[in-house]
Amino acid sequence: MLRSVHAADAGKVMNPMQCRGQTEGGIAQALGATLFENVRLNDSGEVTTTAFRQYRLPQHADIPRTEAHFVETSDAIGPLGAKSMSESPFNPVAPAFADALRDATGIRFTELPLTRDRVWLALERRAGTAVGRSPGGLRPRWAGCGRCQRAAGSRAARYEGNPVSRFPEARQGRWMSSHARFRRTAAGHTF
């Protein structure tokens, strides 16, 4: 992550410092869900990732600094024109990363987290060099938390097949969204 920028419409912001804190915190939570956290279930439906050793939460050092910008609008219902804020910074993070990956690889990933091994495997499968069907298992026995998010374009969490995009070529170049910006990596990038 080269840069993290977040624009929020919270109407009339009465406490910018607290609102900025919610923004940064929401992004940190979302980065966890997008890049780190993975709940696994066994065949009986029991959670097997029951300790922090198996469930990687982002630490402070994992989180980039975020520029938070507030759009000055007004809400007709909210007190003094304020809107609710709280969870909303969480929402755009996963879609931003998924869009960036789509732009970089041509593959639409429909499952979180977007970890390096999954990206690598998808690229290998598209290249036809992956060995075996699903080494290590990519079946999404994934129970999200209460605020479970779906990446853009995803449907059910059931994924058994090939995530290879229908689009034959990955676009080159930089990609920037309103939230996250990172550069398409060169071919030598280590996943």
């Binding site: 198996q54 469930y55 990687r56 994992d62 091994d117 992956a130 298992g137 990519l138 280590t190 996943f191």
Partner: protein, 227 residues
């Protein structure tokens, strides 16, 4: 226990007490001046740990957990370390670290046996080393950790693969191999079931990274990278 955390023995070898903390080991590595010394810091930083953990976690604890991602296992196996185990009847044995962890969380540790120390031979401490690590995340929790050591006396090369595998695999070559020889040796040594399948990395990815990192190490440590 009152054991000295790390000490340099008269023959040049380094004895690390089981109770040596990660912080103590890092401090020693930064000051010891041996050619392999930078490897100490690299392995300490391979932990997913803050200074609080560094001050409490021990080399012996990391070894005795026997987890594939244990960087102290990586360090001591790569430098051909030897463990000192003491049984309850006082008898001692000194097996190699590379033979200590036999599977994910499985150790060659007898009932009631105590890990007293790990000794790194002087020759290994004089080796030129290379370190590579891959993780799903920016920090910590290695998915693959590969260390190469070039012997200063006979020019032999060892490549030790850890974290990607359920136990350490130390490959030794009398002379630095070419890329094909290294690849064949890895393929022959590590079976499909040996690639670690856990939450922190798919086995296929770990395998890919282990091969890639081993080749990078080979290139770095050979005189000419075009062998």
């Amino acid at each position: 226990m009152g054991w000295e955390p790390v000490r340099r023995l008269p023959d040049g070898s380094v004895e690390i007490a089981a109770t040596c903390t990660v912080a103590d080991l890092s401090r020693f590595g930064r000051g010891c001046g041996a050619r392999a010394a930078p490897l100490f810091e690299r392995c300490c930083r391979a932990f997913l740990a803050s200074f609080k953990i560094w001050n409490m976690a021990t080399v012996g604890g990391n070894l005795c957990n026997g987890l594939p991602a244990g960087p102290m296992i990586s360090l001591t196996a790569a430098l051909d370390g030897e463990r000192l185990l003491q049984a309850q009847d006082g008898s001692l044995r000194r097996p190699r670290v590379v033979d200590f962890v036999v599977g994910a969380g499985l150790k060659d540790l007898g009932e009631g046996e105590l890990l007293r120390s790990v000794t790194l031979p002087a020759r290994a401490m004089a080796s030129r080393t290379a370190f590579r690590q891959a993780s799903l995340y920016g920090l910590g929790r290695s998915g693959a950790l590969v260390i190469g050591a070039l012997d200063p006396v006979d020019g032999s090369l060892s490549v030790t693969v850890t974290a990607a595998t359920v136990r350490p695999f130390r490959l030794w070559f009398p002379s630095p191999p070419d890329a094909r020889e290294l690849r064949n040796a890895l393929e022959g040594a590590v079976g499909d079931a040996d690639w670690y399948d856990a939450i922190h990395g798919l086995p296929a990815w770990r395998r890919h990274m282990a091969f890639r990192l081993a080749e990078e190490i080979r290139r770095e440590l050979t005189t000419r990278g075009d062998r």
